[in-house]
């Protein structure tokens, strides 16, 4: 263990923030779906990996840039999510209790299918700039990380705009805050649920595309990613989008710092200890609401 120099510290901080932005995009859909539907979508990691493979195929077949391919994968996943919610998940009774099992089953099915098609070989999408770095005021910044961060930011801003400024987005927020009152003003909860699920799954597509060029992946990676994104939204407060953003940046920075101060191997341990300590002080997470029964 050794303390880094100021230069290395700032370099690490930059990398951590860049990674954190991508994490935020990956976790945003998960927390949004929980907020509206009180459903923990354990298949979120599998959706990310599915998105990564789709990006991989588009790159292999058409040499399509992973960031450009988001324009294809996002709408496709939106439709997939909508249909999944409308025709499969909406039929589940008491989803609060059974959704974990059902979505876990879906994760296993997707992992199995991907395994049958792609085997367990670790893949990654390597556009021409995949090993390029730019040097900014003596700090080295990998191009893929920077591009991933900027893309994540753009998608999150669009998501924010949809939620804050559109009629449907307002209905989503209203449903999160008080589903009974939302119904009173004429919001159809089933429609909002389908829209939210679709939106959440489509962010996983974008997250998956970024994942494919920054990390290597195989079908079993879905387990790591669902664990990571779940930890993020628990730390941030289940259902809170700003919470997920803050928790993602914390995770990103913490991972990178641990990696240089101790070793990369310790990164998850440090983060989980931090998560547990936070939950002792704030059981609802950083930005979460204390859940109380409404009379």
């Amino acid at each position: 263990m050794s303390l880094p120099s100021a230069h290395l510290f700032i370099q690490t901080l930059i990398l951590g923030i860049l990674v954190g932005g991508v994490y935020a995009l990956m976790a945003s859909g998960l927390t949004l779906i929980f907020g509206v539907m009180k459903v923990i979508n354990v298949a979120h990691g599998a959706f990310l990996i599915l998105g990564a493979y789709l990006t991989y195929l588009l790159f292999q077949w058409f040499k399509l840039d992973p960031i450009i391919s988001i324009a294809i994968t996002m709408p496709l996943f939106f439709l997939f999510g909508w249909l999944l919610q409308k025709y499969v998940f909406s039929r589940i009774e008491s989803p609060e209790q059974t959704s974990v099992l059902v979505t876990f089953a879906l994760a296993l099915i997707l992992e199995g299918l991907l395994g049958a098609i792609f085997q367990t070989t670790a893949r990654s999408v390597t556009p021409s700039y995949s090993t390029a770095t730019i040097i900014l005021a003596t700090y080295r910044i990998p191009v893929t990380r920077l591009a991933g961060f900027v893309t994540a930011l753009v998608v999150l801003l669009i998501l924010y705009y949809v939620l804050e400024r559109t009629r449907l987005g307002r209905a989503v927020r209203a449903t999160i805050q008080d589903p009974r009152a939302a119904q009173l003003v004429g919001v159809k909860i089933s429609m909002v649920s389908a829209f939210t699920f679709a939106l959440g799954v489509s962010t996983a597509a974008a997250g998956g595309s970024l994942l494919s060029m920054i990390y290597t992946f195989n079908p079993a990676s879905q387990g790591d990613w669902v664990a990571k994104t779940l930890a993020i939204i628990v730390l941030g407060g289940m259902g809170s989008l700003p919470g997920a953003l803050i928790a993602s940046l914390i995770l990103g920075v913490m991972e990178q710092l641990t990696a240089i101060i101790v070793t990369l191997y310790w990164s998850p341990i440090v983060f989980y200890v931090f998560l547990f300590l936070t939950l002792i002080v704030r059981p609802q997470g950083l930005m979460g609401e204390v859940i109380r029964e409404k009379g």
């Binding site: 927020r173 209203a174 805050q177 008080d178 009152a181 119904q183 009173l184 003003v185 004429g186 009379g295």
Partner: protein, 252 residues
């Protein structure tokens, strides 16, 4: 023809356990009708059946001559009945402005929404002044006004109020009832339930006493308030002196 008419309505939450057992009542255009009665009489349940949150198992509910019994809530809403439920139902993390916009969720015409917004703001001017504040930070009485304002965004012919004064301080409560009477003078028909029967009836034209899921008495608000039997059974007991004697009797 009454605006709203319930005829021998039965309804239950659990099959076989009927909460409403043949309720009949009517609300005429321009009236304030208040439902009173003991806890568990089915007052709120009547309101839920009217606004579609509970399907009646028997009987008919008609609104302006059209049968609405068993219609889904969204449909009944667009027919022109809005429901302000018991307790708090503002969207706490939205601004007052956004709360009002949510009231017009089913309205697509942006011009109409703007007009109605201006109307609500002119009725309750403080809403406009504080339009950017989060509704969750308002006091209980202020939140109730936001809820009523939100319901007004549909320009409903009929508004249903479920215990609007619940949990309000006496002064806030009388202001609220003054607001309700004012809305009524401007043409809004109101069907409400009040746990504070005296206050509720004092603002109403007519009232019904519900007991065990049936309408037991009907009369003008004055008749109900003046009836000694009513006072004894349903208006929270009796004169102050009586209750003082009873309390003394219990403890002495």
């Amino acid at each position: 023809m009454p605006m709203l008419q319930l005829d021998n309505v039965f309804a239950s939450y659990i099959p076989g356990v009927e909460i409403l057992r043949g309720v009949s009542l009517r609300v005429e255009q321009g009236e304030i009708v208040c439902l009173v009665g003991p806890n568990g009489a089915g007052k709120s349940t009547v309101l839920r059946a009217v606004s579609g949150f509970l399907k009646p198992s028997k009987g008919s509910i008609t609104f302006n001559g059209k049968s609405i019994g068993g219609m889904p809530p969204q449909k009944i809403l667009t027919e022109g009945i809005t429901h302000v439920p018991q307790g708090h139902s503002v969207f706490p993390k939205m601004t007052i402005h956004e709360n009002l916009l949510m009231g017009a969720f089913t309205v697509m015409d942006q011009k109409v929404i703007e007009q109605r917004l201006e109307k609500v703001y002119s009725l309750f001017s403080w809403l406009k002044i504080r339009s950017k504040e989060k509704a969750g930070n308002l006091s209980g009485g202020q939140q109730k006004i936001v809820e009523i304002g939100r319901a007004l965004m549909l320009e409903p012919p009929l508004m249903i109020l479920d215990e609007p004064s619940l949990g309000l301080a006496p002064k806030t409560m009388s202001e609220l009832f003054e607001n309700i009477r004012e809305l009524n003078r401007n043409g809004l028909t109101i069907l409400m339930v009040e746990q504070n029967a005296r206050e509720g009836l004092a603002s109403a034209h007519r009232g019904y006493v519900l007991e065990l899921g049936k309408d037991k008495f009907e009369g003008t608000a004055k008749e109900l308030l003046d009836s000694p039997e009513m006072a004894k059974l349903y208006l929270g007991g009796s004169t102050d002196e009586d209750s003082y004697r009873r309390r003394r009797g219990r403890w002495a």
